[in-house]
Amino acid sequence: MKTLRALYRGESPVDFPLLWRPAVTVSVVAVVLGLLSFVVLGLNLGLDFEGGTSYEVRAPDASVADARELMADLGAPEARIQLVDDDLVLVRSDVQDPARALEIRDGLVTGLGPVVAFEQVGPTWGDEVTDKAVKALVVFFIVVAMYIAVRLEWKMAVGALVAVAHDIVLSVGVYSVFRFEITPATVVAFLTIMGYSLYDTIVVYDKVREIVGRLGATERYTYSELMNLALNRVAMRSINTSVTSAIPVLSMLVVGSVILGAATLREFAVALLVGIAVGSYSSLFLASSLVSVLKEREERWSQIAVKVRNRTADDADGSKKGTRTIERSDAVGADTRAAPRRAPGGGPAKRRPTMTAPTGGGVPPRPRKKKR
C-alpha cells in the first residue's frame, strides 16, 4: 500500500532490477511447470476439436444416474454426463455420425426433457480450425516482430515475443492443470491475452525509449537505472489499466456465470483474468529485464556502466546493494531534450559541460528571436 502511494506520488519506490532475478526464476519455473503439465496431462480438448456430440437437456428432476442409464439404452454408454446449475444436464458423447446424433437427441427429448442446445461436430472440423489458428499465430508472431523491430528496435521485439510466449504458456498451463475445456471461445481468450500482453509491453517499451532518449545522452546512468526509472513511472499506468481491463472481465465472471448461470463464460473469464495479470507482470519484469540485459551488452552502455560504477565507488558506501534510483530533480535537470542531439550509437563521447549552478532548471536560455 505504501509502495502504491509512493508510485501514485510519482516517486520511484520499487527497485525493479533487483526483482528481475527472482521474477525470471519464478517465471522459468512456472513456464516449465506449464509445459510439463501440457506434455503429461495434455489439454482437455472440447467438442470442436475432437468431434462428437453434446446435448444440454433441461431436466430439473433428473440425476446423473438417470441420464447415464438413458444414454446406455440409446446405445451410447460411453457418454460423459454432468449436472450444471441443478436443472441442466450436459451430455457429451463421441458419436460423430449426424443421423445417430439426431436419434439420440430424440431419445433424450422423450426420456429426459427438452434439449435446449445441441452440437454435433465431425472429425475433420477441429483439425481445420487448429490448422488455421496455428497458421494465424505463426504469421502474427512474424509480422508483429517485424513491426516492433521497425517502430522500436529488434531487441525490444525479442523481449516482447518472449513475454507474449510466456503469457500464452502460462494461460494454456492453467487450462491444462485445471482441466478446463478448450473451446473456440478459449482460443479467442488466448488471442486476447496475446494481444493484451503485446499492447502492454509496447506501452512500457515506449516509456523506456522516451526516458532513455531524454536521459541517455548524459551518460550518467546505466541502462538498468534508466529502465528502473521508466518502469517506476509506467507502473501506475500498468496497474490502472490492468484494473480497468479486469473489472469488466470480473463482472463477466461474477454476473455472467455465477448469477445468470451462463456456464461457458466462467472458464473464459478465468483465463482472461489470468492473462491480464500475467500480461502486466511480464511486461514490467520479463520483457524489460531481457531488453536491459541485451542493451547492457552493447559497447556504449557497458562503457557507461563501468564509468558509473567507478564514480559511485568513489562516493564510498559501495556496500549498498540495489539499483541507484534517479531522483526527480536529477531527471528534470538532466533533461537533454533542448540540447542538440548527438548521433546515437557512437561510443562515449566527450562529456558535455554540465552546469554547476542550476540556472533556469537546466534549460539553456532561449536565443533571442530576430526582429522581422
Binding site: L102, Q120, S245
Partner: protein
C-alpha cells in the same frame, strides 16, 4: 513590425474567471482543435440519431438469439460453381422457413448455413441436411384457386382417368392450409399439389405420382436455338433413362388418362419437380425422343434457362453434402447469454466509471465521455452492418468489445499519467497538456497498431468465432484512436484553457504544479532578478 498593444491588458491572474466567454476559449485554443471536438460530437450524435431514425438494429448471432447452424462439407472435391449452385438451392429451401436473416455462405470445402431465431429447428435441420430428389410427374391439372374442395368441383382444368382418381375422391392429395402439399407429405407415389418455382401468380399444379427420377438425366445445358433460349436434355440409356422417359412421353403425347391433355392443349404435360417446386412443366410434343435430342422450350430468359438446366443437371444438389458440424441453440439459452453479456457489460462499465472518476476526477469524466463517443459510433456501425450487410453480433464479438473497453480506457490512462509526470517535473498544467498529448498519442498509436495488426491477421486467416472477435476488436480499436485524437485530446486542451484547471489541479486528479519544490523555489528568484 510587431503589432502594438494600445491599451493595458489585465494579466491572467487579474482577469476575472466569469468574464471568460466562449469566444475567449475559441481564441485561446487552436481553431482546428475546436473543430475536431465539435465535429466528433456532431458525428456521434448524428450517428446515433440516424441509427434510431433508420431503425437499424444490431443483428444478433445464433448464440445470442438461438437458432440452428450447420456446416456442411462436400463428400468429394467440388468446384466453386457447384458450391454456388448448392448455396442458391439451399437458400431457396430455407426461404420457405421464414427465417429473418438466413446466412448461407460458401466455405472452402462446403456450405455454412446459419439460421438465427428459427422456430422449427427439426424442419430446418431436415431441409438443410437432406438432399431432395428430382422427380418427373405428369400434370393432372392447373389452377389458381387457393383451396379446391375436391378436384371434381370444376376448378381444375381437366382431370382424367388415373388423374380422375383424385377427382372422384378415391385419392385425396394431402394439402396444407396454404393449399400446397407440405414437404413431409411430398412422397414419390402420392398425388401432390405444388407451386411453380419463382411463380408469384399462385398457380397450383396437381401432379400424379413420380414416373422417373433425376437419375435418368445425364446432362442438361442451356442452348440458343431458333432465336430463343432452350434447355437441351441428355438422358442415360436404358430403363432408368431414355427408355423410361419415352414410355411416359408416349402416354403424354397422346393424352393418356395418366397424363391427360389439359384444356387448350393438344398434348399432356410432364412436370419436373425439385424440392417441392415445379421447375418446369413442358408439353410433350413427340411420342418418342433420342436420348440426346430433347429440347425444353418455354420462352426462357437466359438466366431462366441457366437455372433450369443447372437444376436438371445436378438434380437436387450438385454435390453430396455431409453435416460436419451442427449447432442448435434454443432461444432461451440465447437470451440468457445475451442478458448475461449485457448485464455483465453494464455492471463492468459502471465499476470502471466509478474507478476512473475516483482516480482522475474531472479528467475521468472526460475519459468516460470519450468512451461514450466511441461507444455511440461503434453502436451505429454495428447496427448498420447488422441491418445492411447481415453481419451478426456474436458472443465472441461482445467479448472483443468488452476487451476493447480496457484498451480504450488505457489510451486515456496513458495520457493522464503522462500529464501527471510532466506536472511533477515542474511544468505548468497548461504547458503539460500541449506537450504530453503528442507523446502519449504516439505511444497509443504504436500499441493500437499492434492490436490492429493482430485483429487484421485473425480476420484474414481464421474462421468462425475468432473472426467475429477480430472484427469487433479491430473496429473498437480504430474508434478508440478516433475518439482519442478528435475528442479526448481537444477536450482536455479546452479544459486546460480555463482558470479552473490552473487553480484546482487536484480536481483533475493532477498533483499541484511544481511538485519539485527545491528547484522551483530557486528558479523564479533567479529569473526574476
Amino acid at each position: 513590425m510587431r503589432p502594438v498593444l494600445t491599451r493595458p491588458v489585465a494579466t491572467r491572474a487579474e482577469r476575472p474567471y466569469r468574464h471568460r466567454t466562449l469566444r475567449h476559449l475559441a481564441t485561446d485554443m487552436p481553431r482546428r482543435q475546436l473543430a475536431y471536438l465539435l465535429g466528433i460530437v456532431i458525428l456521434s450524435v448524428l450517428g446515433s440519431t440516424m441509427t434510431v431514425v433508420w431503425g437499424n438494429e444490431p443483428l444478433l448471432g445464433l448464440d445470442l438469439q438461438g437458432g440452428v447452424s450447420v456446416r456442411l462439407a462436400a463428400t468429394e472435391p467440388a468446384t466453386e460453381e457447384m458450391l454456388d449452385q448448392t448455396v442458391s438451392i439451399i437458400r431457396d429451401r430455407v426461404d420457405g422457413l421464414g427465417v429473418a436473416e438466413p446466412e448461407i455462405s460458401r466455405t472452402e470445402t462446403g456450405v455454412l448455413v446459419s439460421l438465427p431465431g428459427v422456430d422449427d429447428q427439426e424442419r430446418a435441420l431436415s431441409l438443410v441436411g437432406t438432399t431432395a430428389e428430382l422427380r418427373f410427374r405428369p400434370v393432372c391439372g392447373v389452377t389458381t384457386t387457393v383451396r379446391p374442395e375436391t378436384a371434381a368441383s370444376g376448378s381444375w382444368s381437366g382431370v382424367h382417368a388415373m388423374c380422375s382418381e383424385v377427382g372422384s375422391g378415391a385419392v385425396v392429395p394431402a394439402i396444407g392450409a396454404d393449399g400446397y402439399t407440405a414437404p413431409e407429405d411430398d412422397l414419390a407415389d402420392h398425388f401432390v399439389v405444388l407451386g411453380l418455382r419463382g411463380d408469384t401468380a399462385g398457380q397450383r399444379y396437381l401432379l400424379g405420382p413420380s414416373v422417373l427420377t433425376g437419375e435418368a438425366i445425364a446432362d442438361a445445358n442451356p442452348l440458343f436455338i431458333d432465336y430463343q433460349w432452350q434447355v437441351g436434355l441428355d438422358l442415360h440409356q436404358g430403363q432408368v433413362g431414355v427408355d423410361g422417359f419415352n414410355q411416359v412421353a408416349t402416354r403424354c403425347y397422346v393424352g393418356d388418362p395418366s397424363c391427360p391433355r389439359l384444356e387448350g392443349l393438344t398434348n399432356g404435360r410432364l412436370a419436373i419437380v425439385l424440392d417441392g417446386q415445379v421447375v418446369t412443366a413442358p408439353s410433350i410434343r413427340a411420342p418418342e425422343f433420342q436420348h440426346d435430342a430433347i429440347l425444353i422450350s418455354g420462352g426462357f430468359e437466359k438466366a431462366e434457362a441457366d437455372d433450369v438446366s443447372l437444376s436438371l443437371r445436378y438434380g437436387a444438389l450438385p454435390v453430396e453434402l455431409e453435416p460436419e458440424n451442427t449447432r442448435v441453440v434454443s432461444a432461451t439459452i440465447g437470451e440468457d447469454s445475451l442478458r448475461a453479456g449485457v448485464v455483465a457489460g453494464l455492471i463492468g462499465m459502471l465499476l470502471v466509471a466509478l474507478f476512473i472518476v475516483a482516480y482522475y476526477r474531472i479528467l475521468g469524466l472526460v475519459a468516460l465521455a470519450s468512451l461514450g463517443i466511441s461507444g455511440a459510433l461503434l453502436w451505429a456501425i454495428i447496427a448498420h452492418l447488422g441491418t445492411q450487410s447481415g453481419l451478426a453480433l456474436t458472443l465472441a464479438g461482445i467479448t472483443g468489445m468488452i476487451v476493447a473497453v480496457g484498451v480504450s480506457v488505457d489510451s486515456n490512462v496513458v495520457y493522464f499519467e503522462h500529464l501527471k509526470e510532466d506536472v511533477r517535473d515542474g511544468r505548468t498544467a497548461r504547458s503539460s497538456v500541449d506537450r504530453a498529448f503528442p507523446i502519449a498519442f504516439s505511444t497509443i498509436v504504436k500499441a493500437d497498431l499492434a492490436s490492429l495488426i493482430g485483429a487484421g491477421l485473425l480476420w484474414a486467416l481464421t474462421v468462425g468465432a475468432v473472426r467475429g472477435f477480430a472484427l469487433y476488436l479491430g473496429l473498437a480499436t480504430i474508434l478508440d484512436l478516433v475518439a482519442t485524437y478528435f475528442f479526448m485530446g481537444p477536450m482536455v486542451r479546452l479544459l486546460a484553457t480555463t482558470r479552473w484547471f490552473a487553480d484546482h489541479p487536484e480536481r483533475f486528479g493532477l498533483p499541484a504544479s511544481g511538485a519539485v519544490p527545491a528547484r522551483r523555489g530557486e528558479v523564479p528568484s533567479e529569473v526574476g532578478a
